[in-house]
């Protein structure tokens, strides 16, 4: 229809020339020129373009991007007129899916194709489907922070970038499992490795790197991160993202629905990683005691994931073996002898007997350590003057159940003491056991630890406990023993582990490695039994229990106030925080919220709560879109129900978080 000419070569219809560049927004790109009219449908135009290009290729993913209007022309039945396109429009004919580099919560880089034309919410959902992370509504993308000069130096040039650009996911169905991983990962060794990277915790970072990474030094710094969230209702292209750009994928909403270790390995791991980095980089503060627990869990998780026991707790096997042995033992006994023997055999408990030096601090006593014959049976410790007197009455007998066990060890000084605080009706009694060497120490220490929890050395965890203690001792020898500073690199695959990689840098400054090690080990005894996913879950739970957990900070200025303040947004409430002091000024809960409005012109958010409480503020550090999305997002997340499973009410989400038509 278009293109009728007179003999002179003039066009006599209303057609005009439309120039379309082929490729992504590249001014140098080749272009084709078409003859179109205002009534041309986009679909027809697309067809013509493909014809013009004369290249055989799958063009199905391509669409037209209108640069000036920052808009995709996706409605193929619309006409050019309807879109308002004139001859001066700069149009690009390019793929809708383009590669980007995702920086995952575990800080690894992954290249994959993301949709540049769908609203970000859908694009993220597609990414999550590819990565097999359920509940994509909790995640979103951030712009990478501006690169600084410094950063380039730090970065190892050949950082491994996993590549998933070739992987195509069929349909919207949940991918089937194949060989323990979603089928689309099992295509090649490369993708398999990628899946392992996603689903297994990463080793602890190099302490040196950790120290150099930027950490927020104040509440204000913590607001920076949140200014970088992308809009979920607009597509990447509209937000100025180009192919090959780096984006961060993070859990944005701290409301983790239906977290199930069995079906969420990637999600759980990534969540764990995000939590860990939050703690290591001091995005969230915790106390010293809490840090030790986190460190112990990291140590444990790392140990398990290194040993390859990904799904199975490392200790089950020996444990099962023991049980099997016990059972078969029992069987034998049952056949042959009287049942009472069975009882005996099963209840026989290994004991420790040895010469140890004992010290009991008492007032007005200067006696030091004295050699005694010590017998440790079940959970009871008895000591005698000498071995000969052992059958008689001990000097003292202590039941270690419920006692506190504190290591007092200096490897380089060859000091291996166990301090016991044993509860008794009169209070706690203190006693020190001094062992001769590491082996002895490890056996006794492990026994004491189990006894304090009411378990005996017959417990299946005894041997692993001994091993763990020995491992930690060796660690101390290599690690913090001599020089207080960073011994080895980030090489975490060896048994030895640098405690500095497990704690936030401020603890690195505060403690020497040899001080940290025993404390981490102490905390470790409480978690040593956990399987990998249990440990990760425990880590996440402990993280969630921190008072400051899940608060996203934004600098705002409340209406009628003259100074900037911080608005904290959590999954159930808004918190007004004093910028300078960090004190909570006021809390409003979402459950009391009636409505909220955004005035896009003056960038002000107004919220009405029950009982006619009205709050209004303008956003300083981030756009009010981000605040608006956070609020709407949390409201949306609170509407999720288990019964509905995983289906996602996309429209509701966009309704709650979008609403920017006026914008």
């Amino acid at each position: 229809m278009a293109g009728m000419k007179t003999a002179m070569g003039d066009y006599i219809d209303s057609s005009w020339e439309l120039r379309v560049f082929v490729g992504e927004e590249d001014p140098e790109a080749e272009s084709v020129t078409l003859r179109v009219t205002g009534e041309s449908h986009i679909g027809g135009v697309l067809l013509k373009i493909v014809e013009e290009i004369k290249r055989k290729q799958d063009w199905s993913d391509h669409a037209i991007w209108w640069e000036q209007k920052r808009q995709w022309l996706l409605q193929t039945h619309w006409t050019l007129d309807k879109y308002g396109i004139l001859a001066d429009a700069r149009l690009f004919f390019g793929p809708q899916h383009r590669p980007v580099i995702l920086r995952l919560p575990n800080r690894r880089a992954l290249r994959l194709r993301a949709s540049f034309s769908q609203p970000l919410f859908q694009a993220v959902a597609a990414i999550c489907r590819l990565l097999s992370i359920r509940h994509p509504e909790e995640m979103s993308l951030l712009r990478a922070p501006e690169k600084k000069e410094k950063k380039k130096k730090e970065k190892e040039p050949e950082e491994e970038v996993y590549d998933l650009t070739k992987v195509v996911l069929a349909g919207g169905i949940a991918p089937a499992l194949f060989r323990g991983m979603p089928a689309h990962f099992s295509d090649s060794a490369q993708t398999e490795a990628c899946y392992h990277m996603l689903s297994r915790p990463q080793p602890p970072p190099d302490p040196l790197l950790l120290q150099r990474l930027p950490r927020p030094s104040s509440l204000l710094d913590k607001t920076h991160l949140h200014s970088r969230w992308l809009d979920s209702s607009r597509c990447l292209m509209q937000q100025g993202i180009k192919a090959g750009d780096t984006l961060w994928l993070r859990f944005k909403y701290y409301s983790f629905f239906d977290l199930d270790p069995k079906i969420d390995p990637v999600r759980l791991t990534q969540l764990y990683e995000q939590a860990r980095w939050d703690l290591l980089l001091e995005e969230i503060d915790c106390t010293e005691e809490e840090m030790m627990v986190f460190a112990a869990l990291q140590y444990h998780i790392n140990k398990l994931s290194q040993s390859g026991e990904v799904d199975e707790p490392a200790c089950t096997d020996p444990g099962l073996d023991d049980l099997d042995a016990a059972l078969s033992n029992l069987e034998v006994k049952l056949e042959g002898s009287a049942p009472t023997d069975v009882l005996d055999s099963l209840t026989t408990i290994p004991e420790l007997k040895d010469h140890l030096r004992i010290f009991r601090p008492r007032k007005l006593t200067l006696k030091g350590y004295r050699q005694h014959w010590v017998v440790f049976k079940e959970t009871t410790l008895s000591y005698y003057k000498s071995q000969d007197e052992a059958p008689g009455d001990p000097i003292q007998q202590l039941n270690l159940k419920g006692c506190e066990v504190v290591p007092d060890v200096n490897v380089s000084g060859q000091k291996f003491c166990i301090k016991l605080l044993v509860p008794s009706p009169e209070g706690m009694s203190e006693i020190y056991l001094r062992c001769q060497d590491e082996q002895q120490y490890a056996r006794w220490m492990a026994g004491c630890r189990l006894a304090s929890k009411g378990r005996t050395m017959a417990d299946s965890s005894y041997s692993s406990e001994v091993q763990a203690i020995l491992a930690f001792l060796s660690l101390q020898r290599t690690g913090g023993g001599g020089s207080s500073n960073h011994p080895q690199g980030p090489d975490a695959s060896t048994e030895g582990l640098n405690p500095y990689g497990l704690v936030a840098p401020r603890f690195q400054r505060k403690f020497k490695a040899k001080q940290l090690t025993p404390r981490i080990l102490e905390a470790h005894q409480n978690v040593a039994q956990l399987s990998l996913s249990e440990a990760q879950l425990r880590f996440i739970q402990a993280w969630q229990s921190l008072p400051d957990f899940g608060i996203s900070y934004v600098v705002v200025r409340f209406k009628g106030s003259r100074k900037d303040e911080i608005l904290g947004i959590a999954n159930n409430r808004l918190i007004r925080i004093d910028l300078a002091v960090g004190d909570v000024v006021k809390t409003w809960r979402f459950s009391n919220m009636r409505q909220w409005n955004v005035n896009w012109d003056i960038r002000q958010v107004a919220i009405e709560f029950d009982e006619h409480i009205n709050v209004a503020f303008s956003c300083v550090s981030a756009s009010c879109r981000i605040v608006h999305e956070y609020i709407g997002g949390y409201i949306f997340l609170s509407t999720r129900e288990r019964a509905r499973g995983e289906e996602l009410d996309e429209d509701l989400f966009l309704q709650l978080t979008g609403g920017h038509e006026a914008f």
Partner: protein, 649 residues
Amino acid sequence: MGESNEDIDQMFSNLLGEMDLLTQSLGVDTLPPPEPKPPRTEFNYSVGFKDLNESLNALEDQDLDALMADLVADISEAEQRTVQAQKEASLNRPPSASLEVPGFSGAASLGYGANAAATSIGQYEDDLPPPPADPILDLPLPPPPPEPLSQEEAEAQAKADKIKLALEKLKEAKVKKLVVKVHMDDNSTKSLMVDERQLARDVLDNLFEKTHCDCNVDWCLYEIYPELQIERFFEDHENVIEVLSDWTRDTENKVLFLEKEEKYAVFKNPQNFYLGNKGKKENKETNEKMNAKNKESLLEESFCGTSIIVPELEGALYLKEDGKKSWKRRYFLLRASGIYYVPKGKTKTSRDLACFIQFENVNIYYGIQCKMKYKAPTDYCFVLKHPQIQKESQYIKYLCCDDARTLSQWVTGIRIAKYGKTLYDNYQRAMARAGLASRWTNLGTANAAPPAPPSTGTTQANGQIPQAAHPMSTVLGEAQRHVELPKDQKPAPGVPRAQPLPKSSLPPPPPVRGSSDVSGSPGMPPKAKGTADGFPALPNDLLPPPPPPPPLEDDELPPPPPDFDAPPDFVPPPPPSFVSNVGSPLPPPPPPPPTFIPESAEKPPIVVKRPPVPPKRQENPGPPSGGGGEQDFMSDLMKALQKKRGNMS
């Protein structure tokens, strides 16, 4: 009135039925000798009693029977383990039991087990809808017939079976039981046997059954340390024996059974703990009200997420300095990981906090009258200590709050931090239990005390001896109750009755002294009240079908028939006879002359029904009230009923 008439008719028919049953049961009883079940008790000892004998005396029949069964079983195995057993034997209560023991073989015991199970189930159905696990019941259920198994039999069994069995046995063999004296809120006490696997929840259920209280969620076991002046409630999931075994032998500590609102206050009004109070006090008014839906969502949010939320709590508290009577004010914060304080010159940001205590190894207690004892600034104190510490020690931490509200917030907050979601689970279980109970009362005669009328019928039908016998004892207990009231406070039929009357009505409060004495053993109780009591008691027994008696009892009691006979006989004779009447289960009740010993509430004389009891517990049969006794029991019944009604409403 119409209602009550019906009731009475009902009771009458029940009575008749009961009599039938009993006569039947007599015959039956003799035939099948009671086979004591053989759960082995490793050792028993008692809590709250001076010595073993006392504790045994204090036990109710059922408990004693169960205990006896255990012991006898032990003996039969030729394991003369405990002196107690011998003592017991000397008591010669159930001689028959011991005789029978030898006869019982593996097979027999198995059969018995099944039997027991059946009966217990029957009871459940008949009686209270929510059958709390009766410890005694538990025992019989798992019949471990390991020893008796002959070799051939053993071989015949599949290996897997053997192993399972043996493991079970192992567990069973180690079960230890305690006789625990529980103080009621009316100053009476109740003794029950608690086995080491029982949680506070089980014991509570047990007590519910014994007391017919309203079973609401506030009921709790409560431990008090008179010496340290501290107390706390057991959490429902706590193992009772474990806690009690930390007590010293000569301890003055007690276990109470009472209602404490604080126990689950956080679930009833979560807003008081979770909202506001951070920052300004402005929220105070808004705290008070909150609609049910919001409460629910608040609870859901706090307890049902991936991790529970510990209430945000911080503020200045007084801390008692170690070993001194001086108190220092410090700023404390509660976190999931423990209590922290702000060191001098530091801020309250997480990184500056110093850990004051973590909860793993300590329990939280209320401090009582610390103002007097330790010169605390206020009386709102809470105490953290290792459960094993029983004496004053520098390892006990005392903290003092400004007001009651703060105290309850801290105590609750610490419990949440320490126990986490378990607390919520406990609450839901308690709610379910309370719900059942209330539904049952609605369905039933509205009277908590009298067991559902229909039950009698069924019981009889079953013809289970054990059941019949049990009913008796329980009924007696109830009868006593009824009786007691009229007697002591005779004039006032409308006297408000405390809801939670202990079923066995151990020692009722001081005023009721006489009755209290009686209460101790179900059998004994009635004696004190003159003859009149005796009369009513009987009818009552029969009428209201029995609560949940342990089946074991019957078995052991050889002479059920005497009971019946006894009553009539006794009727004419005054108090002493009564006693015997009660004790009737025992063959020859040699009623010791009732000695009147006013007993302090603490040690209510508790008589074991069957065994001729030590003299101590006798009571003065002749409390004045007895005089009225002669009237026909119907009128007494009526009175009792009316009272009940009054209470209920």
